[in-house]
């Protein structure tokens, strides 16, 4: 099947406007007859479900948490980008588009990114209208901060809780539609399969996580808004329940998986403290605005940070990248930290950490503050005290979180940080309309592969999730459902529903009947270790080949020795987890296959064989300027389809941050 990305003809800047004014529409009476299933209630799912409910579609939403408001979008800290140019600093739709394409190391689709940039401003308007309390200046207008990889201030934020506030806004819009009867919401429900009728996605099989019962739900269309799959690495900044199951089931029913190996590893996270570690906590990118990153110049230095004199510290980002210093993009910063630790310069008990130091920022802010207050001869102690107050105002909640987790006071000693898995740029392949290769099945938000290429810029995931849900899907879904208005709701005793349910039931029975000796958690940890060691921050052909074999073996072991306590027909978190880990054990293999296929380094995908003399990522535009879209052909069998990326407007160059 040739991939058709359905990018409208015409000038880049006019494609979306033209699409919107010529796409097919569904009249209000017909909308009431059309049912839409939305899997996931994060920013993408909640915004889509609310908007479609407002339009009059009959919507059902599903999430595995106990409320739609708890989707993982809630944890986003730093902010959301929008080309408002409120700061008059030269921002524009084009510039946001350009920064995103470049940041993604030229592996994203121009038309999609341009649309994203062009609706970004509407998102902020919509959120403010809903009552999202963004940070404001004294004049009463909205405030902006800067983020990595850009030279303008276009990031809107609500302290360190931007994701929470945006999600609460979308959740409230969703609850309003529930109250009006346009949306029915199902919490503590997990989607376990897509139901296909005559080649189209027409429904889902879900498991009620309270009772364990399987349920069938019909929809004229199904929207996957199920988030990212970073938890394939076991340790990540994702929530414990984040999973690939919904996307993976879709993949097995014919939806191609795009660029599965593109993973973002975030440079500033709290390091692993021991074997018990269950998840990793992000320290917002905004901390790199003021903090300085360093390691000792001496290998294996065991002195405390504060005992190491200035001249014996290596501020390696400032040394290697004088132009961008501590503000290089995430992929570059992460690799540099790994390089220092691997070379034996790491700090802390595990030696797998570097320092993020606020001492000089505290002093700098303290001096400014002392000046402001007219304290010409302030002593050092006063300056430090004033500086700490300023830092507290800016980053207080992050410093507090660090202290709760580590027991160390970051105002006194430098923070220890290390890179961690954070976001997956890869995902279900979609066309311009967000439709997957399965007719009637759509993917939105982090679940799709679409807009971030090989590396996502900070504050752009929230933007994408809300763009997809509020402003794209309402048009593109209508364009397709206009042809479906004669399709009556298919009763769920249709053989396709029965067969799909049976398949799910059988798999659960199989899992429960293994009655082995090793816990789900233990398998998940082992998979994570393979992925992190061999498909993580640096990859090579040899390691990837080994990983593929190791994952296959582990999968076999899982299916013969996993132990799942409890029963099927009850609330059973171990069974929920087993369903998810079983899918990760398949996805992991595909990620390695994809990473092995891509003989180049780009963005977050770093193949050791492809680097410049000084260790930077070396793209191979000749052979790899494409989206790798994988088709499932049976266990361990995947067929590669290529969507060539054509750059009409931006000219790909080697990224340089020196």
């Amino acid at each position: 099947m040739p991939l058709n990305s359905k990018i409208p003809a015409g000038e880049l800047a006019e494609k979306w406007e033209k699409y919107k004014s010529t796409c097919k529409l569904v009249n209000p009476a017909n909308k009431r007859q059309l049912e839409v299933i939305v899997i996931g209630t994060g920013l993408a799912g909640a915004s889509a479900a609310a908007s479609l409910g407002e339009l009059g579609y009959k919507v059902k939403t599903f999430c595995f948490q106990d409320s739609p408001r708890r989707a993982h979008s809630i944890a986003a800290q730093g902010g959301i980008n929008a080309a408002k140019n409120y700061q008059n600093d030269g921002d524009s739709t084009y510039r946001l588009f350009y920064d995103t394409v470049k940041g993604g190391d030229y592996r994203a689709r121009e038309a999609n990114v341009y649309r994203l940039a062009s609706v970004s401003a509407n998102i902020i308007d919509q959120c403010v209208a809903q009552g999202v309390p963004f940070a404001r200046e004294y004049g009463g207008l909205l405030s902006n901060r800067s983020f990595g990889g850009t030279q303008v201030q276009r990031t809107f934020y609500a302290a360190g809780q931007t994701g929470q506030q945006l999600l609460i806004g979308a959740y409230q819009a969703l609850e309003r539609q529930v109250a009006l009867g346009n949306v029915k919401q199902y919490s503590r429900h997990e989607m376990l399969d897509i139901v296909m009728v005559e080649g189209k996605a027409r429904g889902v099989i879900v498991r009620n996580l309270v009772t364990g019962e399987l349920e069938r739900h019909f929809g004229h269309a199904v929207l996957l808004c199920s988030g990212g799959y970073g938890n394939v690495f076991y340790l990540s900044t994702n929530a414990m329940g984040s999973n690939v199951t919904a996307a993976w089931k879709a993949h097995k029913k014919g939806a191609f998986f795009g660029n599965p190996c593109f993973t973002q590893i975030h440079p500033t996270c709290i390091p692993v403290s021991g074997d018990h570690q269950s998840k990793l906590t992000l320290m917002s990118e905004s901390l790199r605005n003021d903090g300085r990153i360093w390691v000792p110049k001496k290998q294996g230095d065991t002195r405390k940070a504060n005992e190491i004199p200035e001249e014996e510290r290596d501020y390696y980002l400032e040394r290697r990248y004088p132009a961008f210093g501590n503000l290089v993009p995430r992929d570059v910063a992460s690799r540099a930290a790994k390089e220092r630790c691997d070379a034996g310069y790491g700090v802390g008990a595990s030696k797998q950490a570097v320092y993020l130091d606020y001492a000089s920022a505290i002093e700098r802010y303290g001096k400014i503050e002392a000046n402001k207050q007219g304290l010409a001869n302030a002593d050092k102690a006063t300056i430090i005290a004033l500086g700490k107050d300023v830092v507290k105002e800016k980053y207080g909640n992050l410093f507090e979180m660090y202290e709760k987790i580590t027991g160390e006071n970051p105002y006194e000693v430098p923070m220890r940080i290390y890179p961690a898995v954070h976001y997956t740029m890869g995902g279900i392949w979609v066309d311009y309309e967000l439709q997957t290769t399965v007719p009637g099945l759509y993917a939105l938000g982090e679940a799709n592969f679409s807009d971030h290429g090989a590396n996502r810029l900070g504050a752009s995931a929230l933007m994408q999730g809300l763009a997809d849900g509020y402003f794209v899907i309402p048009y593109t879904l209508g364009n397709n459902l206009a042809d479906d208005i004669r399709t009556k709701a298919i009763p769920t005793d249709h053989p396709a529903f029965v067969a799909a349910e049976n398949e799910v039931r059988e798999r659960i029975n199989r899992l429960m009947s293994i009655k082995g000796t090793e816990s789900v958690e233990s398998f998940h940890k082992r998979l994570g270790k393979i992925m992190w060691d061999k498909c993580g921050m640096a990859r090579n052909a040899q390691g990837l080949k080994e990983a593929i074999e190791e994952i296959k073996a582990l999968r076999k072991e899982f299916w013969s020795n996993v132990r799942i306590p409890g029963e099927i027909n009850e609330h059973n978190p171990e069974l929920d987890k087993a369903n998810r880990v079983a899918d990760f054990l398949e996805l992991g293999e595909l990620m390695c296959i994809d990473a092995l296929n891509r003989n180049e380094s780009c963005g977050g995908h770093f193949r050791e064989e492809y680097q410049t003399e000084d260790g930077e990522a070396l793209r191979q535009d000749e052979g790899y300027m494409y989206v790798a879209a994988w088709e499932y052909k049976g266990e361990s069998q995947y067929e590669l389809h290529k969507e060539d990326l054509i750059y009409d407007v931006v000219h790909p160059t080697q990224r340089s941050y020196k």
Partner: protein, 258 residues
């Protein structure tokens, strides 16, 4: 900070489902590191139980960063445990020492029935939001975000109320199992913004009506909710809710006096 290991006794509420009676079970855990989070200690216990062929303890959690509001343990008589402004998932084991006994229960309230062990049903909170916790604005209706300036102080106050994570600790902490702090946080968040103004009266009335219908107790100004709230939602919010509520009942009540 010195790290150490400890052995602990845990008394944990076990309850098969909504209908069956629950009871406390006692467990011993060994070699717990002071660096673990409280939930990681539970992970260790559950792995131990699975290895022994026993049933693990069901508990709610997701983000483990103190923001999703999913975790919910009542620890030694306190919702979310002993640390101020801290969710269960952010409590760490350096709080405890070798030989300690820790008692862990679910949120207890009629409106939050137990699903299993430490897991409760909090859908009543969703229904309270459905009753009016929103601004009625459809996608695409919005004016430019800077068209209506909002005084920084008001915006900050509104944000402070909007910081509620909907965890339900306030209900668990309250001897009357009142949901007043939760409801007042939402009413305040929206009442302090011009966007929330048009629906002010109906919002507060409908949300309170729904709260009563769900079977939450009434507020008698005890203040336990504020003390246990992980996000620092203050009693000021309840005072504001009361003013809003009275305002909504008086015809032509002075809605702008807050």
């Amino acid at each position: 900070m010195e790290h150490y290991n400890m052995n602990l006794t845990l008394k944990v509420w076990k309850q098969k489902n909504r209908n069956e009676k629950g009871r406390f079970e006692t467990y011993q855990v060994k070699n717990i590191s002071s660096e673990m989070s409280f939930l990681e200690m539970f992970d260790v216990l559950n792995e131990q139980l699975i290895a022994e062929g026993k049933e693990p303890i069901a508990f709610d959690h997701d983000c483990r960063e103190g923001i999703c509001g999913m975790c919910s343990m009542y620890i030694n008589g306190r919702a979310h445990g002993p640390w101020h402004h801290t969710t269960t998932c952010q409590l760490h084991m350096r709080e405890y020492k070798d030989g300690d006994t820790i008692v862990v229960e679910p949120w207890r309230a009629n409106a939050f029935p137990v699903i299993k062990d430490l897991v409760v049903d909090r859908e009543a909170f969703d229904r309270i939001i459905q009753a009016g916790g929103y601004v009625s604005v459809n996608t695409g209706n919005a004016v430019d975000a800077n068209a209506i300036p909002i005084e920084k102080h008001e915006a900050d106050e509104s944000f402070a109320s909007a910081a509620c994570i909907g965890c339900g600790a306030c209900v668990a902490a309250c001897p009357n199992a009142s949901a007043m702090l939760f409801v007042s946080a939402k009413v305040s968040h929206l009442a302090m913004l011009p966007q929330g103004d048009p629906e002010r009266k109906t919002r507060v009335t409908n949300m309170i009506q729904q709260m009563d219908k769900e079977g939450f107790g009434s507020c008698t100004n005890i203040g336990a909710c504020e003390a246990e709230c992980p996000k620092g939602i203050s009693l000021e919010n309840i005072a504001r809710l009361n003013r809003e509520y009275i305002g909504s009942m008086t015809a032509g009540g002075s809605q702008n006096s807050i």
